[in-house]
Symmetry: C2
Subunit: 194 residues, 2 copies
Amino acid sequence: MNVEPLLVYISEYVTLTEDEKTFLKSHLTSRKYLKGQYILQQGDVSKTECFIISGCTKMFFVDDDGQEHIINFSIKNWWTSDLGSFISQTPSNFNVQCLEDTEIIQFHFNTIEMLFEKIPKLERVFRKIIEKALVASQNRIVRNFSMSAKERYLVFKQSYPEIEQRIPQYMVASYLGITKEFLSKIKSQISLEH
Amino acid sequence: MNVEPLLVYISEYVTLTEDEKTFLKSHLTSRKYLKGQYILQQGDVSKTECFIISGCTKMFFVDDDGQEHIINFSIKNWWTSDLGSFISQTPSNFNVQCLEDTEIIQFHFNTIEMLFEKIPKLERVFRKIIEKALVASQNRIVRNFSMSAKERYLVFKQSYPEIEQRIPQYMVASYLGITKEFLSKIKSQISLEH
DNA sequence: ATTAAATGTTAATCTAGTTTAACTTTATTT
DNA sequence: AAATAAAGTTAAACTAGATTAACATTTAAT
């Protein structure tokens, strides 16, 4: 199990002893998915929090009209899961699907509270992760309220240049909350400006 | 200091000993604000996390065009603060203003990590609070992406009936991300349906 | 190399929500 | 009780972005 990137990630927040690392490792599992496979499906309960070692995923939901809306993308050294479903162990409204072959490390619901008891520092790590996710989510609301689609696209481009290269444009449009046709128009507008 | 509601709130997540309660209390402060006063102003660093004992607040930002956008309302037994500013101790983009005379209890940035060290259970409480806030924030994004303004208004009405009674309608519009004129139209439409 | 599937583009028409502006109602102050 | 300010309404003209549909390009499969 390629757990090293996760340990490096954790070490940015807290310092674990060798014993703690060993104990932690013994309660994690790793998993590989192929492009197109689902890590989580709408209606299922999320049993794991996933740290991404390599690859790329999207989290999305399908609305009543059958339209797909992308909540976020995740790449290496970031997390993915429907936290709401995980916390409350209720059916998720979201899907997590791999956009590339993807390797993840899983924290399991039925051991995570025990891990927090044994290694309280881990609770700190998770608190900080969730804080960061909340800030990101709130910033997204701010952007959706105060910026035009074009401005949001430019922010996305600047914030996640690596991601834009790796995914089809219609998914960027879905993430931005606009149609692929309109994103196409925005891009041609931008190219005319230069 | 009327700390009881906060202790009741905490007791829904963890059980504190009498000693822990006493220690906690000794590091909290309470404060009263009049209607219209600011708890936090755009540009200032948020030094506190605020638990509301009574009253009502709005968190909002002012965009480049001078337009006000309301992120959320808070009433008794809920929290308010710009978590991003608090976590990173950087200037906030948000304002928190009292819509009624409001009493709060404050956790201070310079003692909160120490509180977590001394009473690790508190870290759990905060993790859960932030989790709930994240879920709420994500649900808001989902609604903004997949629902019309009318549907969002109906959800707001149903979710926070107490709040709708207490605040002017133009603030509801701002929260929903629409103009007051359009909310007015929506309401007259709805009243025609019945 | 060909074909089929997936992705991206362009343009015309349409609509949810904005803007502007004039007016009404409700609260607040004197 | 009058005067003023704050909040809410209505309607016409406007715009950002959606929808539809036809076509172009790239990628993947045979």
